[in-house]
Symmetry: C2
Subunit: 136 residues, 2 copies
């Protein structure tokens, strides 16, 4: 599957999102790279040639994608949020010094022994983050 801009339009529509220019560009930035990007990085990518998309739109759009389940939010660094185009269940490996963030497939990872949830609560998600550092 190639992440062309045309395919992005379809992807957006299938998630009930009106495919505008800016939204297609932002989706394309995320999906063609298949990487974890911060809002800042998205903005930089989208505006490489000439300024095309405002900060407000980048933030609005990422929030919209989040609500519509198109991307996932990864909170590992207190200073910025990363957006993850991979929404299938998986965990994360975070290299503390370099800030590099990569996926850990959830397929073989088993988490057991969690206590029952408090009454009236549903799990929204389980985030597992392995923080690693280069041996110095």
């Amino acid at each position: 599957m190639h992440y062309t801009r045309d395919n992005m339009a379809g992807l957006l529509r299938s998630h009930d999102i009106n495919p505008t220019h800016q939204r297609i560009e932002i989706a394309h930035a995320l999906f063609s790279r298949q990487e974890h990007l911060s809002a800042d990085q998205v903005m930089a990518i989208v505006n490489t040639r000439h300024s095309e998309t405002s900060k407000a739109t980048v933030y609005n759009t990422l929030k919209l994608f989040l609500e519509k389940g198109l991307v996932r939010e990864v909170i590992v660094d207190p200073s910025k949020v990363f957006f993850d185009p991979n929404t299938s269940p998986h965990h994360h490996l975070y290299e503390v010094d370099s800030g590099k963030l990569s996926d850990i497939d959830a397929e073989h990872v088993v988490i057991s022994g969690l206590p029952p949830l408090p009454a009236g609560m549903v799990t929204e998600g389980i985030d597992l983050i392995v923080r690693v550092r280069r041996t110095s």
Copy 2:
């Protein structure tokens, strides 16, 4: 064990931290409550009566406590970091709507099947966060 200010001085010393007024107050705020507090909350608590401790000192001190292993940092909310006086191995339950954060004892939780780390890397910590929401 009571978390009196006098005991705080001992605790700080045992962690190789010079026990000053401000540090004792900040440690007392965290340990007497046994709760997850943000820097803002710590500052509010410490300065309830009359302004006693500056913002810079609160941040410096929390960072110092962190380095010395007296507290732990919990990153669950993109907008602020929480500090956790409980340094024994445990996980977290985060109520998304209320922002309430509580501990999950790690004793019975087993995480298995994690892939091997990349060469030259050591694990600094594994954070497991269960995000829950009230059934609406």
